[in-house]
């Protein structure tokens, strides 16, 4: 225990400390290290509002059903992979445009917000309830874990979140062994008629691809700290001609988006397209969501993709 404490980040250490504290039965008041300084939380909050998809995901993984959340990118409600779990959840705007009155109307006792919440918005939101904002780590494939741990700790369910994260890590390692994905090159792109956006290798979903053994590439097209590249010229489409190509779509029907891409002669002459190794995936999940449940859903997609076609 001591050994692992020394090796991991201070945040993780704090989490473990909380877990230990829980075990000894004195879990009541705790102080969280957030991007806006220390925040005091007491007990297990029950009226929770999440202003970030990753926070909603972590809360559900912790066994807490928030009262309200923000809409997913490009949608009216929460992301498709979560909609069955929270059929009646209230909407309080989008992550870019929060509806403060709707948040206040929920009378929350805890607000879980995105690391990208602006200072101005924090000043407003934090008047309604203790607001937990994780320190922004920029785009890192594993940043979601520390975020989820902080949310779990705030909810008083650090243990459940930790277990959920471990489950993801175990399953990814297991898939890496089972799927024979070692050395398989892959990219995640979003198709545009004038050329695809190549997604960064530092994202949540590309990080999971990496964790399952893939050799993920962005062909050096994504600038530091950006989620994706500029639209790649069709002349350079060969850069993403990997063994397996994941194509994120914002439509519900990924098949349709793939057909659209096939209309482009530059796309259909790619080796990966000829071999039919282009996998359409849900863009809400793959390019917008994060958290332990999203990770399981992404791993589901990877598993289905690799076991459905005998490669």
């Amino acid at each position: 225990m001591l050994f692992s404490l020394r090796k991991t980040s201070p945040l993780m250490g704090a989490c473990l400390a909380t877990v230990l504290a829980l075990a000894t039965g004195s879990a009541q008041a705790r102080t969280l290290d957030t991007a806006h300084g220390e925040v005091e939380v007491d007990g297990q909050p029950s009226r929770v509002v999440t202003l970030y998809e990753g926070a909603l995901d972590a809360a559900l993984a912790a066994g807490v059903t928030p009262l309200a959340a923000v809409a997913t990118r490009g949608g009216q409600g929460v992301a498709g992979y979560l909609s069955d779990r929270v059929p009646d959840i209230a909407m309080v705007g989008t992550s870019r445009e929060l509806n403060l009155e709707a948040i206040a109307a929920q009378n929350p006792d805890l607000i879980l917000a995105s690391p990208y919440l602006s200072d101005e918005q924090y000043a407003l939101v934090s008047q309604l309830a203790p607001t937990v904002v994780p320190e922004s780590e920029g785009f890192t494939p594993n940043g979601w874990k520390n975020e989820a741990r902080l949310y779990g700790e705030a909810l008083g369910h650090a243990e459940e979140v930790e277990e959920a994260i471990e489950a993801v890590e175990t399953r990814a390692a297991d898939l890496a062994e089972r799927l024979d994905s070692q050395g398989t090159t892959t990219s995640l792109v979003r198709w545009m008629p004038q050329g695809p956006l190549v997604m960064s290798t530092e994202l949540f979903s590309t990080g999971l691809l990496e964790a399952t053994g893939f050799d993920v590439t962005d062909a050096d097209l994504v600038k530091e700290g950006r989620p994706h590249s500029d639209p790649l010229s069709l002349e350079n489409l060969g850069e993403v001609d990997t063994d397996l190509l994941f194509m994120a779509t914002l439509n519900e029907d990924g098949r349709e988006a793939l057909d659209a891409a096939r209309q482009s002669p530059a796309f259909s002459r790619l080796e990966v397209a000829k071999r039919d190794q282009v996998i359409p995936v849900d863009g809400q999940l793959w390019t917008s969501a994060s958290g332990p449940l999203a990770a399981q859903a992404v791993l589901d997609d990877i598993e289905t993709a690799l076991s459905s076609d005998e490669r």
């Binding site: 490009g74 198709w191 008629p193 004038q194 050329g195 500029d230 790649l232 914002l250 482009s264 530059a266």
Partner: protein, 335 residues
Amino acid sequence: MIASAERRRLAGQGLTLAGLLLLACLASLLWGAGDVGAERALAVLAGHGDEEARFVVGTLRGSRTLVGLAVGMALGVAGALLQAVSRNPLAEPGLLGVSAGAAFAVAIALLLGTSAATLRVGVAQLGALLGCLCVLGVARFRGLGNDPVRLVLAGAAFTGLLSALTTLLLLFDQRAADEIRFWVVGSLSGRRLEDLLAVLPSLAVAAAITLVIARPLAALALGERLAAGLGHHPGRVRLLVILVVALLVGGATAIAGPIAFVGLVVPFAARALAGPDIRRSLWLCLLLGPLMVIIADVISRRLVAPSELPLGVLTALCGAPVLIAVVRRRRLPML
């Protein structure tokens, strides 16, 4: 004697521009954002060359050069016609509500579930025509006969309204917003020859009408009464011109998205070279339009390789300073 010297000068200009355009097309085939450089591209043009280069030059660069030619011609001619008929050297085809109408139609189509990739050009062209008809309706046919300014003002107001509605639609649907933000800047990349073929009929109709109305339009420049005295019908001519402009800009917008400033700057340059007679400047616009579009497109590919800059951004960046310089330098000519 003077007339023949004038004609020779014009022919010289035309030949020079045609030569430049040919060079621009060649450049468009030779350089792109990819690995296929001038050497490999030349090998393809000479009849050999590797498979990759043949695809890039023949399919990708070839079709975008053809699309650039069509779009440039359409926008240049549309600009010249609109400026002549509104007698306003600052009139831009976008002012007729054409671009805004097309963007609005595309936004609705995206909301209804099509994706930008499968979007038929017909949607944009229909929107362009409807937008233009609405502007005509707002300005009312009666007003057209005697007050072109009214038309331009109505167009500007209507464009504002349509843009606001488009923005409103996109606020409701971020997926559409994501897709359309690449459409509204305009680009020649990824456009297929089928798209071009789909709008060719309307461009051909527009060209035919233009040939008929060029002479009455030139007479109109002499003044309403004089034109009527020469046996033309000013009101009818204006209406036809508007229709032609809608067809041309609608077609161009449908393939390439809205491309700013070409319709404004090209007629300016043509008049500077050929004088105010629309019958002469139109021919030059036919060459200058594609020249500007294709050169801008080649630059847009090279500036941020391996990505590409949207063409609409580049034409706006080049066009705006030219416009400001012209406006500041001298009193605007009356048309």
